[in-house]
């Protein structure tokens, strides 16, 4: 046979050009422009160089802002995982009617605006808010606690706002685990805790990592909640960028901060993806 058989299982790459060109024009090009802007030495654009980057990386305050933002993400993700896993587990073990209720409760925050949810946290955490009123009614405290504009208050508010992003991938992952495996482990004599550690957790790991990834990325970039619940003294990367760009009109520095933040988040995402690949080997 001399005629070449046209491959039918692969697609012509030319089909990807329209979307690829749109991607190039509206995503890659602005990013390149942002990078070029960050190379300007001062707002007027008189010379180019890496001054903005050295200014950020050499400044302890700026590095502190970056570190506190990344650390905030870790705390929020940990809290979300702690609270989200039992919820996903509950979903798994529930009868169908209760499952609908859980899904509704989990999805409801996503249907309301972030601003509304954050303002409701201001009402809850405030001096005359629910938490303080309940504690006073029980008699545990005399004067209201300061919960708003504290780190703990911010972590809790962010965890609630980002909870759907953790619970939904977890539910998805847990649903895929074969229920017979848990029963087989029990039949072989493993207790609940051992079954959880040796069987369920490794199998659920891809879902856990997916949920953690989404929650982490959302928590560190949550401009609205960080500003409204964190207040004017806790400075995180999103507010830092806004302050430099809008209030101080120092666009090159803001661009440099944005690029550094983007690279940091990409590094974290790659770390999570690498862990995900390892864990899938585990599960296979």
């Amino acid at each position: 046979m001399t005629t070449a058989i046209r491959p039918v299982t692969t697609y012509d790459t030319r089909l990807a050009w329209p979307l690829g060109l749109a991607f190039l024009a509206f995503f890659v090009a602005p990013l390149v422009m942002l990078f070029v802007l960050s190379l300007q030495a001062d707002p007027k654009g008189t010379s180019y160089g890496l001054m903005q980057y050295t200014q950020f990386l050499g400044d302890l305050f700026s590095l502190g802002v970056l570190a506190s933002t990344l650390w905030l993400g870790v705390k929020v993700t940990a809290l979300c995982l702690l609270l989200g896993y039992p919820l996903a587990w509950l979903y798994l073990k529930s009868p169908p009617w209760f499952r609908t209720a859980i899904i509704l409760v989990v999805l409801l925050p996503l249907l309301t605006s972030v601003v509304v949810r954050t303002f409701s946290w201001i009402v809850i955490l405030g001096r005359q808010g629910i938490i303080n009123e309940v504690l006073r009614a029980i008699g545990l405290i005399d004067a209201p606690l300061r919960l708003l504009y504290t780190d703990a208050g911010l972590v809790v508010a962010l965890a609630q706002v980002q909870m759907p992003l953790m619970v939904l991938p977890l539910i998805n992952a847990l649903m895929r685990i074969d229920p017979n495996l848990a029963e087989a482990a029990a039949a072989l004599g493993a207790g609940h805790w051992r079954t959880f550690r040796k069987v369920m957790l490794p199998l659920a790991l891809p879902g856990i990592i997916a949920g953690c990834l989404l929650t982490y990325a959302a928590a560190i970039t949550a401009f609205i909640t960080q500003t409204l619940v964190g207040g004017g003294t806790m400075l995180f990367m999103p507010m830092y960028i806004y302050q430099q760009a809008s209030t101080l009109q120092n666009w090159p520095f803001a661009a440099a901060i944005s690029i550094i933040f983007l690279l940091t988040v990409l590094a974290v995402v790659s770390l999570f993806s690498a862990l995900g690949r390892l864990s899938r080997g585990h599960a296979a």
Partner: protein
């Protein structure tokens, strides 16, 4: 009838192109875009200024796009040749930035009917001032029975844990810091005294709000009982029944000369002129002076009455005496350094 894929794709792309390039469809000129301030200003302008404008231009299309001064500058700088805003409203600090960056057209003074009758301070060729924002002490009269009289009252030990301030990102925050500096021997050029004073205020501070709008929420929630505040920002709260009152400190309430500008390269320069004329006219300014807006006028033909006359100043001569006008040219030079310093040092 069956539509071929080619027809569908062609139609969709054409509709998309028509939306993306309105010039192709020979659409009518875009409406006048007026970037007013958020909150009570937007409501005041929507209720009073827009109808007056519509009357003087037989129902020309106008759109209010509320945003902060600094955001207006960002938006116009990003698209100088075809600005998305036609009329800008600015606090004194950002106004100087906008003028320096060449974002405004000079106001056609000769064509104006009202310009010459404004207060001399309000007559600025790059953009006249239709009103003053007034900053003083705002407090909760239910919790604080004795009205405060001076900026230094914020440091009183009985207000421990109930004081709120904003950071220096806003005009309110910066103006307040300059006034505190003046109390400690500083000036618009040197506010180190203010930073030291805020260090001492830290035990009393309940909150450092991220923007002045948040201060209003904090009063409502009972988080703070006293703070520096904008006279007009609390009017909405009062109208909703939140206990909050304004008092001018004895050193003088700070008056921010708020100026309105026609953006350079605006396609609606003529309509923009009419809008500003309406804002400067004595009729509009008198209406805006009444409750619930209580906006301080700048036209000398307006007779000061009502709450403004009682709380702020009886007439324009009194206004000039009682209010403090700050030198924003000097302030602007060091503002970014001060904001960075505030970021680093003030943490509660």
């Amino acid at each position: 009838m069956t539509i071929s894929r080619r027809q569908l794709l062609g139609t969709a792309l054409t509709l998309g192109a028509m939306h993306a390039f309105p010039g192709l469809t020979m659409a009518q000129a875009r409406p006048l875009v007026f970037a007013t301030f958020t909150g009570s200003w937007e409501e005041a302008h929507k209720d009073v200024l827009v109808p007056a404008f519509r009357k003087s231009t037989s129902n020309a299309a106008i759109v209010l796009d509320p945003m902060l001064s600094v955001d207006q500058i960002s938006k116009v700088t990003a698209a100088r040749a075809n600005p998305p805003i036609d009329v800008m409203l600015h606090d004194p600090g950002p106004a100087l930035v906008a003028i320096d960056n060449g974002l405004v057209q000079p106001y056609p003074v000769d064509k104006s009917a009202h310009y010459k009758k404004l207060l001399p301070d309000a007559q600025v060729a790059t953009g006249p001032a239709p009103f003053f924002q007034v900053v003083g002490l705002t407090y909760n009269p239910d919790k604080i029975k004795q009205a405060p009289t001076s900026w230094s009252d914020l440091w009183k030990p009985e207000y421990k844990g109930r004081v709120g301030i904003t950071n220096m990102n806003s005009t309110l925050g910066t103006g307040f810091m300059v006034e505190i500096a003046k109390l400690h021997g500083g000036s618009e050029a040197n506010i180190d005294g203010a930073f030291k004073a805020i260090e001492q205020l830290k035990p009393s501070l309940a909150a450092v709000a991220a923007n002045p709008g948040q201060l209003a929420t904090l009063f409502q929630q009972g988080q703070i009982d006293i703070s520096p505040g904008n006279f007009n920002a609390i009017q909405i709260l009062k109208a909703r029944g939140v206990p909050v009152a304004f008092v001018a400190p004895k050193e003088g309430a700070i008056a921010f000369k708020t100026t309105v500008h026609i953006v350079k390269n605006s396609p609606n320069a003529e309509l923009a002129f009419k809008l500003i004329e309406a804002a400067l006219s004595p009729e509009v300014q008198t209406t805006l002076m009444q409750p619930p807006y209580l906006i301080v006028p700048t036209h000398t033909g307006v007779i000061m009455k009502g709450e403004i006359a009682q709380v702020l100043a009886k007439d324009f001569a009194d206004l000039k005496k009682k209010f403090v006008f700050q030198d924003w040219k000097t302030i602007n030079q060091q503002r970014s350094a001060w904001i960075e310093k505030f970021n680093r040092e003030i943490k509660i």
